[in-house]
């Protein structure tokens, strides 16, 4: 090869490589005009396959009617969604809107959200603020910052597998709030627990190593939600001005700890963490496995897996019942709440706000709440939501569901904590230890936990 070609060849290769990157820029003249508003779904509900079609259809409807703003729902599995979101934030590529996001997601990352108080005030008439449930509207006020318009709320109830009750010959729970206690749940749970040979707990030959049906399971729960059912004061976080005191070792918390721990290792009507995980693996939701007679959960269970479980063959009779009353005489039905929030670093705030208003409009939020299983925060569409839910689940007792709002937890169990992420992680670690350590001594373990959480609180307060 001549010297000229030896010199020319590598130059041509380098130019070719560079031109591939420069020359391949697509014609974005049309895309430059339409601002893309990406909605990050997955930190809460909404990411499941059966939920995506309806959301994508809404996006198509918006995009057909708007040329200046393009809406895209992006779905991320819940187990990795938070990490993916934070990675994008750290990389400077935040999505426009995140949701549905629960109270925890919002408080955990409170600095990530845009303050839209001025936009809410500006468009108050269009939003029709009187149509919103006041309690849920105030959940998203972080100090002076207003970060979201509520979308839906998820009251909690006792999900009861009535077929298992009938098989055991046990009377169903009462339908009135305040009519039963956690001690009675324990008694019923023990009557409903049976082993693989069909022998019930308490009968001769019962094998605790091969339990097929458990009387109660705290499925998909965490420390704060599980313990909130025992009505602790201030959800364990006492706020007095700038002073924040952890109270996770108060009496109600000790009672909760001992109830769960005894239920697993002494009375055997609650599965331990290992068994719970095994049963929950491979099923759309643990309640639909048919192996739990009772369990407290929220209305998002209705949108997340129950329909598919029923379609897939879950034929047991089931319904919702009031949560029991705690030993201290107070009944608490912890509530979850979802919303969409605009990310503070997203550059097109006005466009994102237009989409946010659309998401929380009566027509669109009705569809979304049905998909997510949420009770609409907008009062005007609750009847339609109820009718749609009854179409899916005719047996649902809506008196129980609506009455649960009278017992919601305030402050919310997912509410503010200093150094939120670290504190939450520490509390959830305890929840795992409780369900896996037969030797755990609740009073001293909670004392240690409380001391550790107080240190975590003080780290942020000191900054």
């Amino acid at each position: 090869m001549s010297r000229f070609l030896k010199v020319l060849f590598p130059i041509v290769m380098i130019v070719a490589l560079l031109s591939i990157n420069i020359g391949s820029t697509p014609d974005t003249s049309e895309a430059r005009e339409a601002i893309e508003v990406r909605i990050f779904v997955g930190v809460g509900t909404g990411y499941r396959a059966e939920q995506q079609d309806a959301q994508n259809a809404l996006a198509d409807q918006w995009n057909a009617e708007h040329e200046d703003i393009k809406v895209v729902f992006e779905f991320h599995d819940n187990t990795t969604a938070r990490d993916e979101l934070l990675t994008r934030v750290a990389a400077g590529d935040p999505p426009a809107i995140v949701g549905p996001a629960g109270v925890r997601s919002i408080y955990e990352t409170s600095n990530l959200w845009a303050d839209i108080g001025d936009l809410i005030d500006r468009d108050a008439a269009e939003l029709n603020l009187d149509d919103f449930d006041t309690a849920s509207f105030n959940i998203y006020k972080l100090g002076d910052k207003r970060i979201a318009i509520p979308l839906g709320v998820y009251p909690s109830m006792m999900f009861v597998n009535e077929t298992l009750f009938k098989e055991a010959g046990v009377e169903l729970p009462p339908l009135e709030y305040g009519a039963w206690t956690w001690d009675e749940v324990r008694d019923l749970g023990m009557q409903l627990t049976r082993d693989a040979n069909g022998v019930y707990l308490g009968e001769e030959g019962f094998d605790p190593e091969k339990i097929e049906v458990f009387g109660y399971d705290p499925f998909w729960a965490n420390f704060r939600r599980s313990f909130e059912l025992f009505s602790p004061t201030d959800a364990g976080v006492a706020i007095d001005g700038d002073t924040v005191t952890a109270t996770f070792n108060q009496e109600a918390m000790v009672q909760a700890c001992e109830w769960y721990h005894q239920g697993i290792y002494v009375d055997h009507f609650i599965p331990d963490a290992d068994t719970d995980t095994a049963i929950g693996t491979g099923v759309s939701n643990p309640f639909a496995s048919g192996r739990f007679a009772m369990g407290v959960s929220h209305t998002w269970m209705l949108g997340q897996g129950m329909k598919d479980a029923v379609d897939a063959g879950f034929a047991d009779d089931w319904n919702v019942y009031p949560v029991p009353t705690a030993p201290n005489g107070v009944t608490t039905a912890p509530i979850h709440a979802d919303t969409f929030a605009i990310m503070a670093d997203y550059p097109h705030r006005e466009e994102a706000w237009q989409v946010l208003k659309w998401l929380t409009s009566p027509e669109v939020s009705l569809v979304l709440n049905q998909v997510y299983g949420a009770m609409p925060a907008r009062l005007s569409i609750r009847n339609e939501w109820e009718a749609a839910m009854l179409d899916l689940f005719p047996q649902l007792d809506f008196d129980v569901i609506y009455s649960a709002l009278d017992y919601l937890d305030a402050p919310n169990h997912e509410g503010y904590m200093p150094n939120y992420a670290k504190a939450w992680d520490t509390l959830d670690r305890f929840w795992g230890d409780l369900r896996a350590d037969p030797e755990l001594d609740c009073p001293s373990a909670l004392d240690n936990l409380n001391a550790e959480v107080q240190i975590i609180f003080d780290e942020q307060v000191a900054e």
């Binding site: 990490d83 290992d274 995980t277 230890d433 550790e452 240190i455 780290e459």
Partner: protein
């Protein structure tokens, strides 16, 4: 330097330009061709390392974004802040600082630390590292067995032993989660129960968690086995013949011929194994759902980094942890290489 005098007729003399000799031209072309690699190295390796080192000296928190402050070596001080208390009356230890918590105790001697999880993660990682010699020994045994051509179907065995290494680690972790379940796990149910042995709670009991991870580690002996096999096949056979003639038995041939000749492979597997141990993360994360097991029994160092970075958003502190890990791995590797002159034999005399 060969130069050419360039001068404009009648006036000034231009500076002398170095002439491009063929040697110099060759060097320039070489640099030109490795420029893409250099750019990649700077952008994706050295650059992020420098950024990470800087961030390790700031209070960078993802949530606060650009609002970060230089704090010097504070993170490193927090990491290594410890206190010791002797408690011989069954009471609780009292440390100098209120925010210190017990990392571990040796009898009545309690060690408290500002970041007690840091010390727990080191303890767990070092415990797991103690299993490395057993894993390498097993790999060597399997390599010796599969090096014997007289074993029927030896190539099939080699394939089977290596096959697990090509299965994604996450998938195999989920499978082992089922195998190691206390009540319905296949190990306890189908292997130990028929022998009348009540299997432990492999993943729940802190005393058995490391052994459970050791069992999972056996799944990955294929790679070091393959390296040992390659080394064994390069041992000169005349050495064995000469040894047999001299009356050396199997054990002496193993210890006096095989092990010295494959000692470079042992060094390689040891170093790679230690690096993998200090980077252990996926299995522990999957098995414990990121929790690190009961009583921190599977709370590895990398899990601690992950928690600080992506759960607590403390990227600055996580960067500092990462640099401590790097320094530790480099130090240990250097010590191993330094010691290798005493036990590694290179047949050509090279080091």
């Amino acid at each position: 330097m060969a130069t050419e005098n360039l001068s404009i007729p009648g006036n000034t003399q231009v500076a002398e330009l170095p002439r491009l000799t063929p040697r110099r031209l060759q060097i320039l072309w070489g640099f030109l061709f490795i420029t893409p690699w250099i750019l990649g190295f700077l952008m994706f390796f050295l650059g992020p390392m420098a950024a990470s080192f800087y961030l390790s000296m700031t209070d960078y928190n993802i949530e606060r974004g650009g609002d970060l402050h230089f704090i010097g070596l504070q993170h490193y001080k927090d990491m290594f802040s410890i206190d010791i208390d002797w408690v011989d009356d069954g009471g609780k230890p009292e440390y100098r600082q209120d925010d210190y918590q017990t990392a571990f105790n040796v009898g009545a001697l309690y060690f408290g630390a500002k970041d007690y999880r840091f010390w727990k993660s080191i303890r767990v990682t070092l415990l797991y590292a103690c299993l490395l010699p057993f894993t390498l020994t097993l790999a060597l045994i399997l390599a010796i067995l599969t090096n014997n051509q007289r074993v029927p179907g030896v190539t099939v065995f080699r394939t089977l032993f290596y096959l697990p290494t090509v299965i994604p680690l996450v998938v195999s972790s989920f499978v082992f989660q089922q195998i190691l379940r206390a009540k319905e796990g296949w190990l306890n149910l189908y292997l130990l129960a028929p022998l009348g042995i009540k299997g432990p709670q492999w993943l729940q009991d802190p005393d058995w968690a490391i052994f459970a991870l050791g069992i999972i580690g056996i799944w990955g002996v294929g790679r070091p086995m393959l390296m040992f096999l390659a080394g064994l096949q390069n041992v000169p056979t005349e050495l064995y013949e000469a040894a047999r003639v001299d009356g050396a038995g199997a054990w002496r041939r193993l210890t006096k011929i095989t092990l010295p000749v494959i000692s470079p492979i042992i060094l390689y597997n040891l170093v790679i194994g230690l690096i993998d141990t200090f980077q252990y993360f996926v299995v522990a994360y999957v098995l414990t759902n990121g929790r690190g097991g009961n009583d921190f029994s599977m709370y590895f160092y990398n899990l601690h980094i992950y928690k600080n970075a992506y759960t607590y958003f403390e990227m600055g502190y996580a960067s500092a942890l990462a640099w401590v890990l790097m320094a530790t791995v480099v130090t240990i590797t250097a010590l191993i290489f330094r010691s290798s002159s005493r036990w590694v034999f290179y047949s050509a005399g090279a080091k």
